[in-house]
Symmetry: C2
Subunit: 338 residues, 2 copies
């Protein structure tokens, strides 16, 4: 971020600003606090795109009635260790927290548990729920579907969502958290590179002639985002959508797309309680030995450090907690006016 355009906001200050806005829009105090914490913590962890920068859009969605602020998930159907819940169009982060916690409960009872959540809203940063489950000694495998924003492999029209997938596990009192969308880059990333007048680090889509390109504006023009791993990410995106809709009985990407606005999405949360599988220290040893070997990787460029998914978060979190969260001045001003 350009220093002149950014300010630093302390955690408490950001949290209270969010709470104030949510209260003003009718949230009760405990839900305002919990929901604000998701946006604040995501920003603390450096995921600004799904934290502070996204907050104004979240409020817009509330004002337009796409998010029902008082709605809570309701139990639809269950069998053993899998349950279907209806999100009733409540705030995505609150619904996803509830679903994660319920999947953890089921895992604690049966080793593994699954919540299929229909009719919910954008969960912001999927990784948040991975860190949360990991604190309760659980593995989390979770994903969401989205509005169509990417063509199938070898197609030109958008029929797939980029359907982010989270895989997380506890590690060293913290967590290893992978949080990947099925497109190689998000539209947010394309727009950011465009603003900076920079190319993408690798090809991110096709131009209008059908050639692979690292030029963000050519990709925005064609609308042809590249699935991560070409046919592989496209295939996985399709399967994740099918499973979300089928297991939850909720909307699929094509139905969300027909609405024109992304709301009422479907999500899956699978938890495994690792305490049920062996002695805590043997698990820890297995993971730390893998990470030790991984860290021995020889970097292609001398100064590069080979890090695991979520490793960088720890440093960012520390720094942002201490120095405050860097925020675009314009974004912060718009939030204060909400």
């Amino acid at each position: 971020m350009n220093k002149e355009n950014t300010i630093k906001v302390l955690r408490e200050e950001m949290q209270s600003a969010f709470v104030r806005v949510l209260l003003k829009h009718g949230f009760d105090e405990s839900r305002a606090t919990e929901c604000a914490a998701v946006f604040t913590d995501n920003s603390i962890d450096g995921v600004y795109t799904h934290g502070v920068n996204r907050f104004p859009g979240f409020v817009q969605h509330i004002r337009k009635g796409f998010i029902k602020i008082n709605a809570k998930p309701s139990f639809k159907h269950g069998f053993g260790s899998i349950e279907q819940w209806d999100g009733n169009l409540g705030p995505g982060p609150l619904n996803a927290i509830k679903a994660t916690d319920r999947a953890v409960d089921l895992a604690q009872k049966n080793g593994i548990g699954c919540i299929a959540l229909s009719n919910t809203n954008h969960w912001m940063r999927g990784g948040y729920y991975g860190w949360r489950a990991a604190k309760k000694n659980c593995v989390l495998i979770a994903w969401t579907n989205t509005i169509a924003n990417m063509p199938a492999w070898k197609a030109i029209d958008k029929r797939l969502g980029n359907n982010p997938l989270v895989v997380a596990l506890p590690f060293n009192e913290e967590a290893i958290v992978l949080d990947i969308a099925m497109s190689q880059f998000s539209y947010g990333m394309l727009e950011m590179q465009l603003m900076k007048n920079e190319k993408l680090p690798v090809d991110g889509g096709f131009d209008k002639k059908g050639n692979l390109t690292d030029d963000p504006s050519a990709i925005i023009d064609s609308g042809r985002l590249l699935p991560a791993g070409y046919w592989k990410g496209a295939g996985l995106a399709l399967l994740l959508d099918i499973l979300s809709a089928m297991l939850s009985g909720g909307s699929a990407t094509w139905e969300i797309t027909e609405q024109s606005v992304e709301y009422g999405v479907s999500q899956i949360f699978i938890c495994i309680d690792i305490n049920k599988l062996g002695k805590d220290n043997s698990m820890t040893l297995i993971v730390s030995n893998i990470i030790k070997d991984y860290h021995r990787s020889v970097p292609a460029e001398e100064k590069e450090k080979i890090i695991y998914p979520g490793e960088r978060v720890l440093t960012t979190r520390q720094r942002n907690l201490q120095d405050g969260i860097p925020v675009f001045r314009s974004v912060w001003e718009s939030i204060l006016k909400l």
Copy 2:
């Protein structure tokens, strides 16, 4: 395949040839039949690399003692709907069948079930178990770790396996089956393109100078296979390895790599019984509506057909069942001599 170098082998002929070889190597009749069927069916489905072409290597592994032909998986530990089994170094396909069937049992009892299998061997084609679980009305999410064959993102030495992931579900009396390794291409694919003197369809790795390339020989020289989706496939490969080893208590990629030979791998099988979630016809409708929309995709090139993972298999299966399975003459001759 070049027509002059290939012959067609009928299903029954292939199956009996495999059974004969396995019996000769000490398998009992029912295990020989079941194991042979995996190699035959994979070939019928067009996955020759993990069917007929792989059979001689499988027999080599038996002869060298890496595969214990009589070993069966044994129960280690269970809690609710998750169980750890020891594969006892038995034949990978037989162990994986047992693990799949047991995960289906658990799913039928509890909605969802998970088997973590340590100390097993190469399962050949992961998709096989997806088709199998789908026949029993289950979703399958399964993966295996492998020997290290791919560097971490931004690294040059191989520390990650390509750890294939399978996601499958029942559809139209058949299945949708995604079976993807975490490298963009396998070494087998590189070698095949090299033999044909052809480039890869997209970049598949780095050359020795660290540039992305579609030249198979440059990638074989550098040993730097490209993870599918760059950092995304690399991250997922790491997490899949950690989960396989941690949940099963088995070997991680680094330990398999220290052995120099790939045996004693770790695998995870998660099943969800969709009959427990709603009426069969509502599930079917959700999936067929998604596929209907997906098939409406506009192809970039006029004659291209946009197909879902596993769709092509149905045609190939039909053709190979009718006309026989195309096999390299040299491969078939070597099998007849085993």
